[in-house]
């Protein structure tokens, strides 16, 4: 990141301004969520924040439960930073950034016990449903974290179980049964440059970010997952301020999710 541009962004932020005219705590508009964009997935959602576009798809399969949790199904969340979406993304196995993105979104859903994995059990010790969520980036114009988290949750809510008869899944037939969701986590990533805090960066603001905190929050206002990223350290006061911003912005995103 060249220092001139970073300095310029920091200077603007310190005055409460941004390069595209937004205020520091303003998300780009429109934010749109379109469900059912992939008919081959059991559930799917396409989220657009500004020009950033992410698609998440859910596939369901029946596996043998883990020996230490014989009465539970499982959840897997993975992300791919597709080279289609950003000139800097390379072809090949997911790099550490894709892995982090997947794990951060995973944490928000898993640790909040959003999905009651006990309800995924079909036959204890023998068969249980596995929920696999795959996040694929289509256009990266900044803030993949929040777009991906939103897409993953929307896709899980959109999902319907395929027909399961005689130990076989018929993917062509969708039942009306939904994945048992007890909580709906919403993620807000707050960023810091210099002394300024802001949300929803565009590509340049993202490169200039010195520290970020992704906060996952459930509908009761509990913080259910945290991830700090970025090269600079933050103070406890920063963390509290960032959480305050996240708790505030969460309401806006939750309303859009519906």
């Amino acid at each position: 990141m060249d220092m001139e541009l970073k300095g310029h962004i920091a200077q603007l932020l310190s005055k409460g301004k941004r390069m595209d005219g937004r205020k520091p705590l303003e998300y780009r508009q429109p934010i749109s969520i379109e469900c059912g964009v992939s008919e081959t997935a059991e559930g799917s959602a396409k989220v657009q924040i500004g020009d950033t576009i992410v698609i998440a798809g859910v596939k369901l399969s029946v596996e043998t439960p883990y020996p230490d949790t014989p009465d539970q199904g499982s959840l897997m969340v993975g992300a791919e930073l597709l080279p289609l979406s950003n000139p800097d993304f390379e072809v090949g196995a997911p790099g550490i950034e894709a892995i982090e993105l997947g794990r951060v979104v995973d944490r928000g859903i898993r640790e909040s016990k959003s999905i009651d994995v006990k309800k995924l059990c079909i036959k204890e010790g023998e068969k249980a449903w596995t929920v696999m969520v795959d996040i694929c980036t289509i256009n990266d114009s900044g803030n993949l974290f929040d777009a991906s988290a939103l897409a993953a949750v929307a896709a899980i809510r959109d999902a319907r179980f395929p027909e399961y008869k005689d130990d076989k899944i018929d993917y062509k037939v969708k039942t009306d049964e939904r994945i048992p969701l007890q909580k709906t986590p919403i993620s807000v990533t707050v960023r810091k440059i210099g002394d300024s805090l802001f949300v929803d960066p565009n590509s340049e603001e993202e490169k200039a970010t010195e520290a970020r905190l992704t906060v996952a929050i459930d509908e009761d206002g509990y913080i259910i997952a945290l991830q700090k990223g970025g090269d600079k350290a933050v103070t406890a006061e920063d963390v509290d301020a960032m959480i305050g911003i996240a708790l505030d912005k969460e309401k806006e995103l939750r309303q859009i999710l519906g």
């Binding site: 992939s38 081959t40 698609i55 399969s61 597709l82 289609l84 979406s85 000139p87 694929c136």
Partner: protein
């Protein structure tokens, strides 16, 4: 007991499934396109000409075209497909490149590379053809010098009928003589063929007829590609 009625209800054996096409859908890319035919959807993004690494691949006389075809894990007809390049994707990436090369003048960008990425969020047969069709639009959108566009469609035989644009159910048809699946890519203005593959069983006469059907179907696809590209650049009220 012949194939009289198309499984998805299409009235004619020469009918294409409903098509949607749009150019410029991925803002970060130098060129991009979205192409949907029936339930098969392809996104294509072009980056380039850009720096080519590793350096030993650079050729001072001409550039290279690199294509990557990939199906998203949830885009298959059944189980989840584990992400990562598999042999099928690698082969399709290569034939995509071969299908597009005849229209590209590599001497326009020596030492450099034009990268084409194709991703599919859902498929219902004809995916490599949809990918090539979207890629051609994306290349044009990126301002790459091209002699022509490339349009692609899968022609085939379902039992005793020759059909245009097979869907998954037609591909999988097992009664009677079974099927033949023939993906074809054509340069619309010259009628030349840049991709030809065949799976199944076919006679020489049937193949001739299939190629004729392909040329005709690709003309129709070309009109859609043209409209999508022009639509992006025409300002209302001009």
């Amino acid at each position: 007991m012949s194939y009289d009625q198309r499984i998805d209800g299409r009235s004619s054996f020469e009918e294409l499934r409903p098509i949607e096409a749009k150019a410029g859908v991925i803002k970060r890319a130098d060129g991009s396109a979205y192409f949907k035919i029936g339930k098969t959807v392809a996104y294509a993004a072009v980056y380039g000409p850009r720096n080519l690494y590793p350096k030993f691949m650079q050729d001072p006389r001409k550039g290279i075209l690199r294509c990557y075809y990939n199906m998203m894990p949830f885009s298959g007809q059944g189980d989840r497909v584990r992400p990562g390049a598999n042999r099928r994707a690698k082969e399709i990436s290569m034939i995509t490149e071969k299908a597009l090369l005849p229209v590209i003048n590599l001497e326009e960008f020596p030492n450099a590379v034009v990268d084409v990425f194709i991703e599919l969020p859902q498929t219902d047969a004809g995916s490599r053809c949809a990918g090539i069709t979207a890629a051609a639009m994306a290349l044009a959108d990126a301002g790459i010098v091209m002699k022509d566009l490339v349009s692609a469609v899968a022609i085939g035989r379902v039992d005793d009928r020759l059909v245009v644009d097979l869907d998954y159910n037609e591909e999988a048809y097992e009664e009677g003589r079974g099927t033949a699946d023939i993906p074809v890519a054509i340069l619309p203005n010259s009628g030349k063929i840049s991709l030809l593959q065949m799976d199944g069983q076919i006679t020489r006469e049937e193949l001739k007829e299939c190629l004729r059907l392909a040329k005709d179907a690709c003309k129709r696809i070309y009109e859609v590609q043209k409209s999508a590209l022009k639509e992006k650049y025409i300002v209302s009220g001009e």
